[in-house]
Symmetry: none
Subunit: 226 residues, 2 copies
DNA sequence: ATCCGCGTTGACGGGTTCTTGACGGCCGGG
DNA sequence: CCCGGCCGTCAAGAACCCGTCAACGCGGAT
């Protein structure tokens, strides 16, 4: 879950942000002055900071500098000042974005999504690794490990395994599997599935004839069981 | 030198930006419609894109999507529309920032600096030097050492190696590799990869015919193993 | 003008992967 | 009891992909 630190001394702004962010599945931390903001950031390790420049105790740029000393977390500045010089100052101090009050909640949320997307896609993985008792699937690296050694899969084998793993625990209809791996024209070639599921089991299951993770649901489809 | 691609159909805006950017030491590319923008981005490899949404040929979000298909270069959107929905749409399509016209040049430049700073520091963090049993890659210095002597790589060879090393351990699809090194138009020229991977292996692998670090995954792509 | 480095393109051999057919086991219904 | 689906297994030829070598053209440097 994405963690947002909201720093503002106006209670109604904090409340509005907290409600809107929480409703969209964000975890929200708050602080109402600069000192508390630095403390909260250090302890809570937010994924993004929304920072009002008009704080009671310290200048906003000092908060930015304080954060930038040790973290590259995205900072979105809120401010009532529309003056261009203020924006330049904040951005050059290390802020990532600058939104003037009064702001549209939709826009702020969109800018927040953009900031989070940037930082997570460049930092890389969101933990796409699935483990079972006998093998491990790494979706991002497209790797499969069994007993700490890599198992080589062909493109088709990987395609099937990926669809099943992404629907972990759920039943995937044969038609759906065929369409996603071979394309819509092959929706009835159920024989392909039999051949490739057998290959996958031979490579991954401890006892291929008695599968424990790549399960057949007769007449319906297949299911991956972690 | 930082390279900026300016996309706008209004000549006076392009001129103003070109002058201001050049005066601050940026290298400036320009395009006046969406098609030219995608072409210029593929060929010129800018470090940041300034994109006007009101282009004559295609919708601005399509240009964003076209870029995001193969690059994570920062995109700063310019637009005369102040409507919140437009901003949300552009940001969610993959833009990094949104500035409404008329804009202050100081502010735009500050946002541009912020965007470039972000992309260079986040890309540069982590270890810029990657070592394997037989050679060492220095991403920052663009150098490769083998047995303590420098190995000379051509620009294309380096481009491939860099993409692979930045995705260390992960499989990189042939399409992705081609798009990032040669540009989106070359996404199917898999033969290029075979030729260049062979050259890289000849230069870097102790036993080129039995590669241990530059691995082929048939039908899928290539992988760098440290 | 000539040479050299580099990117591009074609041809070919060898290996892997996909497709397809055949066969047998299991199960429920006629 | 027999039969028709459905599934798993095996094997073989076709299709595809990869690595390698070599030739060509272009541009910059000598």
């Amino acid at each position: 879950m994405t963690k947002v630190l909201v720093v503002d001394d106006e209670p109604q702004i904090v409340r509005a942000l907290r409600i809107n962010l929480a409703a969209r599945g964000y975890q929200v931390l708050t602080a109402h002055d600069g000192a508390a903001a630095l403390k909260a950031a250090a302890e809570g390790r937010p994924d993004v900071v929304v920072l009002d420049l008009g704080l009671p105790d310290v200048d906003g740029t000092e908060v930015i500098a304080g954060l930038r000393g040790w973290t590259t977390v995205p900072i979105i500045v809120l401010s009532a000042r529309t003056d261009s010089a203020d924006k330049v100052e904040a951005l050059d101090a290390g802020a990532d974005d600058y939104v003037t009050k009064p702001f549209g909640m939709d826009e702020l949320l969109a800018r927040l999504r953009a900031a989070v997307r940037r930082s997570t896609t460049s930092a890389g993985d969101g933990e796409p690794v699935v483990k079972t008792a006998s093998f491990t699937v790494d979706l991002a690296a497209k790797k499969v490990l069994r007993d700490d050694t890599e198992v080589h899969l062909t493109p088709t084998e990987w395609g099937i395994l990926e669809v099943l793993v992404r629907n972990s625990g759920r039943l995937v209809a044969q038609k759906q599997l065929l369409k996603e791996v071979w394309g819509p024209a092959y929706a009835t070639e159920t024989h392909y599935l039999r051949v490739y599921l057998a290959q996958l089991r031979r490579k991954l299951e401890p006892e291929p004839s008695r599968p424990r993770h790549l399960i057949t649901e007769p007449g319906m489809g297949y299911r991956f069981e972690p």
